[in-house]
Amino acid sequence: MIKTEELQINIGPQHPSTHGVFRMLVTVDGETITDLKPVFGYLHRNHEQIAEVNTYLQNMPYTDRLDYFNSMANNHAYAIAVEKLAGIEVPERAEYIRVLMVELTRVLNHAGALGFLINDMGAWQTQLAFGMREREKILDLFESASGARLMCNYFRFGGVVRDLPDDFMPRLKDLLVAMPAFIDELERLLRENEILLQRSEGIGILPRDLAIAYSVTGPVLRASGVAYDVRKAEPYSVYDRFDFDVPVGSVGDVYDRILVRIEEMRQSKRIIEQIIEQLPDAQGGHINPKARQNVRPPVGDVYARVESPKGELGFYLVSDGSTKPYRYKVRAPSFINLTPLGDMCRGYKVADVVVILGSIDIVMGEVDR
């Protein structure tokens, strides 16, 4: 028997496929991982501390910067939390606009996430380029509504900052024409490709019970076979008015995560179509005119959560009765989904590490906060 020496490799913090400044301290035996420790904090800016010196409204653009892929979803979670704390009503139309934006965000995120995942597998950006193309279209819509592509800062307490512009709906309908074609094409590229199957089947398995014990959320949890979707489990906003399915995986490997994400895009499209039907009948304007933006909520604490594209995004707020939150805690899905990374990678190859990391779909802005 030849005696082999274990090698310690730092994957990151500067590395092409760590999705930001993220470091994995990997111990390898040959190419096989024997241990992996995620190390992060390079992007830590004490977001929660910053939030405590800002007023409630001033925190809204900071939530954009948590998960910069899904600023709308972050806005939504934070707006819901403050509205719950301060007892602000949201008009129906505003709720529909919010859900529309968040579902577009979900499509955008999954398109990008799948692209990056395939990129991590070594494809030369074609799938990513296709995903980014659809993402750009959605970002164009965001830009016309909110004024910015990424840092949308679109939500306000009691609604959204301004109503949809006139050309929004026609462009959205155009987009919905392209979306199924795009998803089908992505599926043709990903679903049966033998190389991709080899790279994803049986890789990074997270069994059902372990997934629950690890508190993972979002597509990662659902790929492990747990049909837990906050939109269904604890419906918020107007999600109880839409028909949509919850895709779950059966094995819990990278392949299941890909399939779940593809199907979630389809379901988001279904929701958007229902919104387009129901939006003209919705009552109220884009914002509750009685809602004060400079809120001064009563003393108390609140936890509100949404199903962000990456998982359960929650805000825990404690109010001391002033205009600033006394405590502001983010329950970031990327952060918690990273917990099982070490165990998911152990026993696989170096090349699988980046794939498993990509399948979790993290954004370091949210992990490090």
Binding site: N46, Y214, Y316, G321
Partner: protein, 173 residues
């Protein structure tokens, strides 16, 4: 969809784990202002658990009530009241609203039993609480700073951590 309310939980815990549930004292949060409207004090509706029995209560949640999903561990520093409050938030996998367990700790040398051996998902939450608030989780397998570097002194999310001045800037530059 299970719909247990916080009061139900308190009652059940009081029945099944005698002595674990404490009566929450009202929290002042901030010193009362010298003038202007007075803030009310804050009485939590969630179950307040004796810190030494938090593991027991959490396991009760998981094994008896089926709230297997530990979503969040949030710490709040109530400087005026001189305590740290840890909020454990549990969900049922079948859906429904959350149930929270709270534990109050002294600000000096706070310690709690770790949930990580039973919920591996508590790992990063507890490391974060240790990093930012200095709460020691007894029994945690790898209790190290998670965001700040290991040599960092102090716990930056505590309310009495100096907001101005940074002793780490200027050493190298």
């Amino acid at each position: 969809m299970p719909h247990l309310r916080a009061e139900d939980l308190r009652e059940m815990l009081g029945r099944d784990l005698p002595g674990a549930v404490q009566d929450p004292s009202p929290l002042q949060i901030v010193p009362p202002p010298s003038h202007g409207p007075q803030h009310g004090s804050f009485v939590t509706g969630d179950a307040l658990i004796d810190p030494s029995r938090i593991l027991e209560a959490a396991l009760y949640m998981r094994d008896t009530l089926g709230y297997t999903y530990l979503s969040d561990i949030a710490v709040t520093d109530y400087l005026t009241d001189g305590l740290l409050e840890v909020v454990y938030r549990f969900y049922h996998v079948d859906g429904g609203p959350s149930l929270a367990l709270k534990a109050r700790l002294p600000r000096e040398n706070p310690a709690l039993p770790s949930l990580t051996p039973d919920w591996p998902g508590a790992n990063f939450h507890e490391r974060e609480a240790f990093d930012l608030y200095g709460i020691t989780f007894v029994g945690h397998p790898f209790l190290r700073r998670i965001y700040m570097w290991d040599e960092f002194e102090g716990f930056p999310m505590r309310k009495d951590f100096p907001k101005q001045g940074d002793k780490y800037i200027g050493e190298d530059e």
